[in-house]
């Protein structure tokens, strides 16, 4: 085969892969050794929410379909996983898979209106779905280890309550953090693989122009639903991780408006980049915890997200994941020019 200039794997790609692998190893091995259990739990939650953000970024950033139902789908995944974790002895990874598949099916149903409507109308419809899911959850509650389909305990059985089980290899908080991080990496790789192959190109075409995608032979119905199915699958898996992390779940933890906050945060983090999802996970879970630690009300984080999303929409559509490296580069240039300028001044005048 002829070698065409510019088609080989470039050095930049290798360097980037090495940096990511290094950062991942640092987060996996060093971080839980350096911080306390409280912060390990916070980072576990941040990793879980970054997978939810990944799904939302896929829908909105890659295909151009807005969904305000992602936190509700996280709850669906958490519900399914917790019911199975109480009710069966299935291995943890299998339960994560089932939670992902169940959520994938429900998420695809949520995505059906996207075949007809888009933009604000789609946002509204998906928000209504989220409201409906929240409502159903507030009636049926999360499973508590009892019998029947809903797995509720009666008042007399309440002393039998035990926490949702974790995988045998990851019962301690640091071990469960590592487990979560590995599953998170697998979800990112799954989405990355889809974005870099046939579906990703079809999504890019749909986002750019549906007539042009159709003319290129893209089955728009199929690829839009696949995006919803995949985004919901990873969100369902994240829900399963959340069930094991929390030990006990409550509908209060999944208010409908959290899906709106998540969209704002994903926009802030960077909707077009996978890094944006990581930043979003940290913003939505680590930032409130840091504020609380510093004695500031956690509601200040909502204010910050509001200001942040305004700033992103007005000046930096790529979000933090895009803007921070650019700004750092600019800062580096300014600094070197500053030093360079002084060096020039000492040289002979032109």
């Amino acid at each position: 085969m002829t070698r065409i200039k510019g088609m080989e794997i470039e050095r930049d790609d290798v360097v980037r892969a090495c940096i990511i692998a290094g950062l991942f190893a640092l987060a996996l091995f060093a971080v839980p050794e350096l911080i306390g259990v409280y912060w390990v739990k916070i980072l576990t939650a941040a990793a879980i929410y970054s997978v939810v953000a990944l799904g939302l970024g896929l829908l909105y950033g890659r295909v151009g379909m807005v969904s305000l139902c992602q936190v509700a789908l996280l709850a669906v995944g958490a519900w399914t996983a917790s019911r199975l974790l109480y009710g069966t002895g299935l291995p943890f990874p299998i339960i994560l898979l089932i939670a992902g598949l169940v959520t994938g099916v429900i998420g695809t149903v949520v995505g059906l209106p996207a075949l007809r409507v888009s933009g604000l109308h789609l946002a509204l419809i998906t928000l209504m779905f989220a409201g409906a899911i929240t409502l159903v959850l507030s009636v049926i509650h999360f499973p508590q280890g009892g019998g029947g389909f809903l797995g509720q305990l009666s008042l007399t059985e309440l002393q039998q309550f035990r926490n949702i089980r974790r995988p045998g290899i990851a019962t301690s908080d640091p071990a469960y953090y590592r487990y979560t991080l590995v599953v998170m990496a697998l979800m990112f790789l799954l989405v990355l693989w889809q974005i870099a192959s046939k579906p990703g190109r079809a999504w890019a075409a749909i986002r750019e122009s549906e007539p042009a995608a159709l003319a290129a032979g893209v089955n728009i119905t199929q690829y839009k639903l696949w995006a919803f199915a995949l985004a919901s699958f990873v969100t369902g898996v994240a829900g399963g991780l959340l069930a094991g992390s929390a030990g006990a779940l409550s509908p209060v933890a999944f208010p409908t408006q959290d899906s709106i906050v998540l969209l704002a945060v994903v926009l802030m983090g960077g909707i077009y980049s996978l890094w944006g999802a990581v930043v979003a996970g940290l913003l939505v879970r680590l930032l409130p915890a840091l504020l609380e630690n510093w004695g500031v009300s956690i509601y200040v984080s909502l204010l910050l997200f509001g200001i942040g999303v305004l700033q992103v929409l007005a000046t930096a559509p790529g979000g933090l994941a895009d803007q921070v490296p650019k700004d750092l580069k600019r800062l580096g240039r300014l600094l070197s020019r500053g030093f360079g300028g002084r060096a020039d001044a000492e040289g002979p005048a032109a």
Binding site: A202, A204, A205, P211, A215, A216, G217, Y272
Partner: protein
């Protein structure tokens, strides 16, 4: 060969194509007419974006209306758009590859087919370059590469040289004229307002005016036809 019979399209009270019967024999065929004559609407009927009120279109003996819109690309229908639609976020290579992977062609030949299509149109940029950073000429060429990759049978080009300076239009004309020979007898229909481009690459030409076919035949003859000249000059017809 494409045979269009009694084709009528209505949008409410407007009839952009009115009882059109025409045959595109093969090779590179021109389709011209003043603004609003129904040329792009005709392309949209072929693509399946617009459902006609009446009529039939047979392309290489097959009834086009029996195929779902997205399946027509797999059958071999390709098109470009008046406002070019290169996908800015994808690389040049992926822009063409995404058409190839929906064309039903073998996966093993994809890389080579895509690079061949880029070489055919004479696009001298790195295949890894994002389409969004290309200039107007390169984006237009990329669109022709997208329209010709993966064994096309019918290639619809909607003003592919719009906005290009003269020498780039000449290059575009050379590329278009070579398509039928390069791709095993593919039929090209070229819509354009630039008569020098149409006469340079089209053996036959059809002329639409207000949705009606007013002339068709060898390009040189059609361009001398007095109805055609009147339609372009806007003189009132008295028939």
């Amino acid at each position: 060969m494409i045979e269009v019979e009694d084709l009528t399209v209505r949008f409410g009270g407007v009839t952009p194509i009115d009882d059109m019967t025409v045959t595109f024999p093969g090779g590179t065929c021109g389709l011209i007419g003043p603004n609003g004559a129904g040329k792009t609407t005709f392309f949209n009927v072929l693509s399946g974006f617009v459902k006609p009120a009446a009529g039939s279109i047979r392309a290489f003996g097959e009834d086009l209306f029996k195929m779902a819109d997205f399946r027509r690309a797999r059958w071999g229908l390709r098109r470009s758009f008046q406002t070019e639609q290169a996908i800015r976020n994808l690389s040049v290579f992926d822009n063409v590859a995404m058409v190839h992977e929906h064309s039903g062609q073998a996966r093993v030949s994809r890389r080579q087919d895509v690079l061949d299509a880029l070489a055919f149109v004479g696009l001298n940029v790195s295949p890894r370059e994002k389409a969004g950073v290309l200039g107007a000429r390169d984006r237009r060429l990329l669109e022709v590469a997208r329209a010709t990759v993966g064994m096309p049978r019918v290639v619809l080009l909607d003003e592919p040289a719009a906005g290009l300076p003269a020498e780039e239009t000449v290059h575009m004309g050379d590329v278009i004229a070579k398509i039928p020979e390069q791709f095993g007898g593919a039929l090209v229909i070229l819509v354009d307002h630039d008569m020098s481009l149409v006469s340079a690459c089209c053996e036959t030409t059809a002329v639409l005016d207000f949705g009606k076919l007013i002339a068709s035949g060898p390009t040189a003859e059609v361009l001398r036809n007095e109805h055609v000249i009147r339609a372009y000059l806007g003189t009132e017809e008295e028939l």
